[in-house]
């Protein structure tokens, strides 16, 4: 758990919250399995879902980075166009 939380330092606040939720869900699932409230196959499936959720978070992060880069490019193009007009 600590290892997971330490890794959160490299992410922004929103992504950290998402990863924190995932980490909490893993703990909840493990507790449910230990208390025999879910079967082994249900436990395995839910752990698989956690991996899918992590992959979704990773794709979301990549998409955000792309959107930010696109914003920078658009701003640079606007500045260049304005400068060209002024010359």
């Amino acid at each position: 758990m600590n290892e997971i939380l330490n890794k959160l330092n490299g992410y922004d606040a929103k992504e950290s919250v998402e990863l924190q939720l995932i980490a909490n869900t893993v703990l909840d699932i493990t507790k449910l399995y230990e208390e025999q409230k879910i079967s082994q196959s249900e436990y395995q499936e839910l752990l698989g879902d956690i991996q899918l959720e992590s992959a979704i978070t990773s794709d979301a992060s990549a998409l955000n980075a792309k959107a930010q880069l696109k914003l920078i490019i658009d701003t640079a193009i606007t500045i260049a166009a304005t400068a060209a007009k002024a010359v």
Binding site: E18, T25, I29, I38, L52, D59
Partner: protein, 133 residues
């Protein structure tokens, strides 16, 4: 000339990432609406987890919504991340529907599964909402 070389070098080094970002699919309100629908179904029907017969129908409705989202996203160009998220979200939902079709499902499994689907859909929705207009 020196400036031109610097510009060319910069463009070569980061050209792919720049081009990728420049061409990225813009915000699509339909795409956003479809994932919001998946999130809403999971959020609302979570309360029905104690009633297996009701949840069987809910699982089907959720599967249709998640499949619609994946299919809508699939043919938009320069939209790889969104498609990847849609596919993974659909895989989460498929597991629920298949289990309700085959066997007795525990209430705890159902509640946890719906929470995971809701969290995932929220993450996707947030990312899609940040796409450039």
């Amino acid at each position: 000339m020196k400036k031109l070389l610097i510009v060319l070098l910069f463009a070569t080094l980061s050209g792919c990432a720049m081009l990728d970002a420049y061409n990225m699919a813009k915000f699509d309100s339909n795409e956003y609406q479809l994932v919001a629908k998946v999130r809403t179904i999971a959020e609302v029907t979570k309360a029905d987890c104690s009633d297996a017969s009701l949840m069987k129908g809910n699982a089907n409705t959720l599967l249709i919504a998640a499949t619609e989202f994946k299919n809508f996203t699939a043919n938009i160009i320069h939209n790889e991340e969104s498609l990847g998220m849609a596919k993974n979200l659909l895989l989460e939902v498929k597991g629920l529907q298949e289990r309700y079709k085959k066997e007795v499902v525990s209430e705890y499994y159902c509640t946890t599964k719906m929470t995971i689907i809701e969290q995932s859909a929220t993450t996707v929705q947030t990312a899609l909402g940040a796409k450039p207009r």
